[in-house]
């Protein structure tokens, strides 16, 4: 690489030579063809790493290392298509796994990092972000990933039936007392990438909650003040709760079972949703087998005792 741009070799005033070399660089940059086909994959690998110049039998042992372009003399001259989704997932995952599992340290460190990195970024200690910041990002990312994705303009590439979760948006770093943060819950609808926030404290019974959700998801022109506005008034029966909608409202309870919302008194429901993180709106195909009879839930919280005994499930028409 002695030639390069020759930027800093030779005399002349530094500014001048910099200027002219800059132009050269830009000219080069614009004339560089981009070949769409080949993608240069850099990879961690065991064993024979190191460039040709090394010579000696390589006893890297268990250490993985990122191979540089020099390790691929036959392909180094070919252009690398900038990989828009570039993360270390361009590294062959088999190599990565091998390298990581070879060192216990690596495996330990990966588990130290809180949320598990995706398949690509298995390099220990990379990116170089303080562990404290990483942990705090992990906690907050869990709670806010859907909205962040929207903010960064990333499309979620997973399959159509996006099963998203309701997260208590304030769960980050809260270990004990949840009461003060109970209000905000994010609800996601199956098939819709963007979740909406609902303040449970703004609702006194299931009916208003269901109405708010219906407004949010089925009538997108109406904007509900979902961040704890006025207490909602009951105007008409909710389709979500009586089964006439094609969606049902569910949440995941402490034991990890999926329960239908509305099964317990409103007050208990609040605490259920505080402890757990998952509430979904499911499509018909995913609902549990229908149970007989659908009571009308248009009752105030005080009446929930009888509702509880009668409540079974919503029936999905057609």
């Amino acid at each position: 690489m002695e030639g390069g741009l020759g930027l800093l070799v030779g005399g002349g005033s530094p500014n001048e030579s910099t200027m002219s070399k800059l132009e050269v660089v830009e000219a080069e940059a614009s004339s560089y063809p981009v070949e769409a086909e080949l993608e240069l994959g850099l990879g961690l690998s065991l064993g024979s790493g190191g460039g040709g110049g090394k010579g000696k039998a390589n006893a890297w042992g268990d250490c993985g290392r990122i191979l540089t372009a020099k390790d691929f003399p036959s392909v180094v001259s070919q252009p690398h298509r900038p990989n828009k989704n570039n993360n270390n997932s361009s590294i062959p995952s088999a190599c990565v796994v091998g390298a990581v599992s070879g060192t216990k340290r690596a495996a330990d460190s990966v588990s130290h990092e809180g949320g598990s990195p995706t398949a690509g970024s298995q390099v220990v200690g990379w990116p170089p972000i303080r562990a404290y910041r990483m942990n705090s990002l992990v906690n907050q990312a869990k709670a806010a990933r859907a909205e962040e994705d929207k903010g960064i303009g990333e499309k979620d590439k997973s399959k159509d039936n996006l099963k998203k979760k309701i997260c208590n948006g304030n769960k980050a770093n809260v270990t004990g007392n949840e009461k003060g943060h109970l209000g905000f819950v994010k609800v996601n609808m199956d098939g819709v990438p963007i979740g909406r926030k609902v303040d449970l404290n703004a609702h006194a019974c299931y009916e208003t909650l269901a109405q708010a959700l219906e407004e949010m998801f089925f009538r997108s022109t109406t904007t509900i003040n979902s961040i704890g506005g006025e207490k909602q008034q009951v105007t008409k029966p909710s389709k979500l709760l009586d089964g006439s909608s094609e969606f049902v409202l569910t949440y995941e309870d402490k034991e990890g079972d999926w329960m239908l919302v509305g099964d317990v008194p409103w007050g208990s429901q609040l605490s259920n949703l505080a402890d757990r993180e998952n509430v979904e709106l499911l499509t018909p195909e995913q609902t549990p087998p229908p149970l007989p009879d659908v009571p009308n839930l248009c009752k105030k919280a005080s009446n929930h005792e009888d509702v509880r005994s009668q409540w079974t499930c919503s029936k999905i028409p057609g």
């Binding site: 910099t18 200027m19 800059l22 290392r65 460190s109 170089p128 943060h181 704890g228």
Partner: protein
């Protein structure tokens, strides 16, 4: 110079405050050494194992304030096992035993226990200031001891520590008679605090200028606190989740209006982003803004906020601001000196900023001196432009999330770009690089980076020559940390005397062998050459040809340390 009586010299030396200058003063001649040492009050020890506490006490009998650093920098990235070392207890115990009148203690990357905190609180009646940065080993019980016993407590500043939270009432332990608090930062604590006690504390602390809350302090309390502390200069908001139409919010706006002195804003640890507009009132006066722990704030909200911050000098932000957002920063914040752009989702491996944002910043903010930039990609052209626009960089740290990524346009290594940086920024003291880099970049660094003191390298270089260029060229190098580079014994042993001019050298996942390290340790008795052998990679009777996974060496006058755990071998 012997014409002046000692008192006069002392008085003159009082005006010399920086540690480095005082070190220089003490080297002029023996009398100056004696006088300077006898009156120095603030001491900085960059490596707690480089010298023994007894020696420090002996040399500086007037010691009142000390700043100690423990673990190597790469400990921040989980490369150093937690119990490697960095225990502060021996220091505190020595201070207590020798009746040092300790008033201020600042620690970075050290382990401090509750017992130690309690010892501090009982042993030093004039203790005023405790600053802990990236430390661990203590709980809120230890904080309670400090709170209870330090009658003249002025400053309790906890930055990014790993604290076990027992949810005790440490804050309530500050006695009602204590009214001297100037600075309180507990943003890193995970548990609740007694909110009523917090309010009362603020009410009785007329000198309070810096307050950083944790996430457990909700908005209504924040509003009450601001009403009581309108003279705050530095505010860290805890939880910022609220209803925009509520009474609380209106009161908050009123409270913020009264805070005419706030220059520094941070926090927003939990945030509902819709109503940051309340803070637009403060923005025009802000010189420092840290929103790097607030991923809940969307790029558009960030930009709206920043448009009001014309006086900003320091900005820490997440990459969700995007290249366009950085253009706004560049056009608004003409006084910007330091910027850090962190990735909001490091696990996915996508950063939302590229070289475009960096170039925009360099064009708009010519006063930039310090940058930490996590990005998706970089080009040589961009770096060359940046070097031309901002020759005043003293700290330049660039992290491309894919550590060996070449120039995104030309597919060349980034040697020329970084070469331009070191050539143009003559005052560069700290540099971190990433991307595809060959030996050439090290040649440039060795040739041009004359003031470079700290260098961090990862996945770079081709041969031993790279490291040799560095060691040969950078005369002022103090800290060198290298990971995953193909540098071996030839480079390590090229100039062993160099390491006594440096604070420390870290090498991990390189090509150095046990034999090389042993040879180095033998030649240089005043270096501690430590092999960190976590996960039992090496046997005691290991072959000298075996590669060393992690080596950390540092100069020391204290000899081999006695608190090294089993997996650390000092050769």
């Amino acid at each position: 110079m012997n014409y002046f009586p000692d008192e006069v010299l002392e008085h003159i030396f009082d005006f010399v405050t920086s540690q480095r200058d005082r070190n220089s003063v003490s080297q002029v001649c023996k009398p100056w050494y004696k006088i300077e040492s006898s009156c120095r009050q603030k001491v900085f020890v960059g490596n707690c194992y480089a010298i023994s506490p007894e020696r420090v006490i002996e040399r500086f009998p007037g010691l009142k304030s000390i700043f100690l650093k423990g673990k190597p920098h790469f400990a921040d990235f989980n490369l150093v096992p937690h119990d490697w070392g960095g225990f502060v207890y021996p220091w505190i115990e020595a201070f207590a035993r020798n009746n040092v009148g300790l008033e201020e203690l600042k620690l970075k990357r050290m382990i401090i226990s509750d017992e130690c905190l309690e010892l501090i609180s009982r042993s030093f009646p004039n203790f005023k200031s405790l600053v802990l940065v990236s430390c661990e080993g203590f709980t809120t019980d230890g904080l309670a001891a400090i709170a209870s016993n330090c009658r003249f407590l002025r400053e309790l500043d906890l930055q990014e520590n790993d604290v076990e939270d027992h949810r005790g009432h440490w804050l309530s332990c500050i006695p009602d008679t204590c009214t001297s608090l100037v600075s309180l930062n507990f943003a890193c604590l995970k548990g609740d605090v007694n909110l009523a006690a917090l309010e009362r504390l603020v009410a009785r602390s007329p000198n309070l200028r810096s307050l950083r809350l944790n996430h457990a302090v909700p908005l209504d309390i924040l509003q009450k606190i601001l009403m009581r502390a309108p003279h705050l200069v530095d505010l860290g908001v805890g939880s910022y989740v609220h209803d925009p139409d509520s009474e609380t919010y209106n009161k908050l706006v009123t409270a913020i209006r009264r805070c005419k002195s706030v220059k520094s804003l941070s926090g927003f640890l939990d945030v509902a982003p819709h109503c940051l507009s309340a803070f637009h009132l403060i923005c025009p006066r802000l010189t420092s803004l840290n929103l790097s722990y607030a991923p809940g704030i969307h790029g558009t909200e960030l930009v709206k906020l920043i448009r009001h911050c014309r006086k900003l000098q320091r900005l820490w932000i997440l990459d969700c601001i995007g290249d366009e957002g950085l253009e706004v920063v560049a056009s608004t914040c003409k006084d910007l000196q330091e910027i850090r752009v962190f990735p909001s989702d490091p696990f996915v491996g996508n950063a939302a900023v590229t070289e475009v944002g960096l170039v925009a910043l360099s064009r708009g903010c010519p006063k930039l001196q310090s940058i930490l930039y996590f990005c998706q990609q970089m080009t040589n052209a961009a770096l060359i432009t940046v070097a031309k626009n901002c020759p005043n960089f003293t700290r330049f740290r660039l992290c491309i999330l894919d550590p060996t990524k070449p120039d995104a346009v030309t597919n060349q290594p980034l040697d020329e770009g970084f070469g331009a940086i070191v050539h143009s920024c003559k005052g560069l003291r700290r540099l971190s690089m990433s991307g595809q880099l060959t030996d050439q970049v090290f040649l440039y660094i060795g040739m041009y980076a004359e003031q470079l003191e700290m260098l961090s390298i990862a996945f770079a270089g081709d041969t031993d020559k790279g490291m040799q260029y560095l060691l040969n060229g950078c005369k002022k190098l103090r800290k060198l940390e290298i990971r995953d580079c193909p540098f071996g014994n030839a480079a390590l042993l090229m100039d062993v005397g160099k390491y006594e001019t440096m604070r420390s050298l870290w090498m991990s996942s390189c090509e150095i062998t046990l034999g090389g390290c042993k040879s180095l340790a033998k030649k240089m008795p005043r270096l501690n050459v430590e092999i960190i052998n976590d996960n039992d990679q090496m046997e005691v009777s290991a072959d000298d040809r075996q590669k060393v996974e992690k080596m950390y060496l540092y100069r020391t006058l204290a000899g081999q340390r006695k608190d090294a755990p089993e997996f650390v071998w000092t050769l």
